[in-house]
């Protein structure tokens, strides 16, 4: 059913919290995601023109880099690495537009999935997603997307500590956190509250579950740029200016 499930009282809202302060932009999440998922629930994740001039393929994570300038804290601008993936929205239009019931949101934990066995590959869900999270499998003719590693997080054959999404497990700077964002007492919810986590494009009304933690403000005030001081006129001052110039080189 592509109608959204009725919210269940106390149901989990599983999702990710991504820390833009500590993300170093290494793409490890994207690589480990690709590695796991090409053998997982939505396998395979195809690659096209692999060794050619225009390699391309299906990836569930895309890591952008941006520069934020303007209202900064003294350093003039900052580089922000930005991993982009499915946000498992609470009101996802990608689900409701699906004509077949292939695209669905699970009532019990809020994960948005595609049933690739009945997907007709009309691509409308990818048009309905403002975050560009869905990528079409040209080989199989069906849509693919992040599964929140549904085959890891509930996988009882994995040690309990490893039952988290591949992107979270691999992140070397612990910039990705996984948990229940529907439970205000969960670690991820507390992290979001403490760090002022935000929604992406809240004005579009998709109510994403995943949250992004904005970069921290610099705690050490930056020193003002030094300006040369001219003391008086005459030979002495001219000499000092000369010394200043030589030393400034």
């Amino acid at each position: 059913m592509t109608s959204l499930p009725q919210p269940i009282e106390g149901a989990k809202k599983l999702g990710l919290v991504i820390d833009l302060d500590t993300c170093v932009g290494c793409h490890a999440c994207a690589v480990n995601c690709k590695e796991w998922n090409t053998g997982g629930h939505s396998a395979p994740l195809p690659d096209y023109d692999k060794y050619g001039a225009d390699p391309d393929g299906v990836w569930f994570n895309r890591i952008h880099s941006y520069e934020a300038t303007g209202k900064d804290d003294g350093c003039g601008g900052r580089t922000v690495n930005f991993p982009r993936s499915c946000l498992h929205c609470e009101t996802p239009q990608c689900v409701t537009v699906c004509p077949t019931g292939a695209s669905y949101k699970r009532a019990e934990d809020g994960i948005v999935l595609v049933n690739t066995d009945i997907c007709i590959g009309c691509k409308l869900c990818s048009w309905a997603c403002p975050y560009g999270a869905r990528e079409f499998d040209e080989d199989a003719g069906v849509m693919k997307k992040c599964t929140l590693c549904i085959d890891r997080i509930y996988n009882t054959s994995l040690p309990e500590a490893e039952r988290e999404p591949a992107c979270v497990a691999t992140c070397p700077s612990r910039a990705r956190h996984f948990g229940d964002l529907g439970d205000p007492s969960s670690d991820v919810s507390k992290l979001v509250a403490a760090r002022g986590g935000v929604d992406l494009m809240p004005e579009l009304g998709y109510n994403p579950v995943n949250k992004y933690l904005p970069p921290r403000r610099a705690m050490i005030p930056t020193r003002a740029t030094e300006t040369p001081v001219r003391s008086g006129t005459g030979l002495g001052a001219a000499l000092l200016t000369l010394v200043d110039r030589v030393l400034s080189r």
């Binding site: 109608s3 391309d56 209202k71 982009r84 019931g101 590959g121 009309c122 990818s126 975050y131 560009g132």
Partner: protein, 312 residues
Amino acid sequence: MTPASSVLLLTTLTGFGYGLLAWLGLFCALGLLPHALWFLPVGVMIALAFASGGLLASTLHLGRPERAWRAFSQWRSSWLSREGVASVLTYPPALGFAALWYFAGAGAPATRALGLLAAFMALATVYCTAMIYASLKPIRQWHNRHTAPDYLIFAALSGATLLAALTGIWTGHARLTGALAALAALVAAVAKLGYWRFIDRQAPLTTLASATGLAAFGSVTPLDQPHFTENYILREMGYQIARKHAAKLRRIALVVAFGLPGLFALLAAIGIAPMIAAPLAAICTGAGLFIERWLFFAEATHVAAIYYGRAV
């Protein structure tokens, strides 16, 4: 949005088919159609051929066309599913309408009633098609109050030119249908100009700062791309058309889709070679609306492209 020829064919051809069916139903109810035994059955067949051609073309857009039947299931939430259901539900009244015309007569109340039902279903199908686009929140050029009425107006124009061509060829004159097509061309031109004026003045749906959650840090510009080559998102939703090309194509669409058909339809209406002028109006409308529909896609921007620094 990248214009896919299968979807352009779907929307233009179904516009012709369902537009013609709608006018046939309405004209029959008003008793304005030529009372020839085969006129309506042939008209309905032409209408259904156009509509079916468009629907078949749309399956070429699917990655798994053999599963297309599954698209009838989610009519509760999906406009695409509703379009499929409505298109199928249009066949029985349309075929019944043609049969009753033949067997019960053009003036029989049942014929007129079924004609109106077929007309309603035809318009409902066009409306569902339009709503597929109008419901997509990430695309500001589609998600607005122009899209649904425009699709209905363009279907009315397509159908009117086809009806004028049919009456022109069948009866040798197209006074009423030609005048109707000319009027439809005028209305359609005004609607399209209004749409272009609207999308040219629209504000972007979002900013990169909001899309990245960095609004508190000032303005945001892309630094490094996640990948060097185009991916699915950019190929499908990052389509960019040069402003000067768009301006030229808009003028061409305006002349070919509305200007020339209006002129030819007017000639047919006043009795100057209606057997040639009316079909020419229909042909021009088809070519022009194909360009118009191409622009409808090419000029549409998707907010996801903002992550790659593209204009939305």
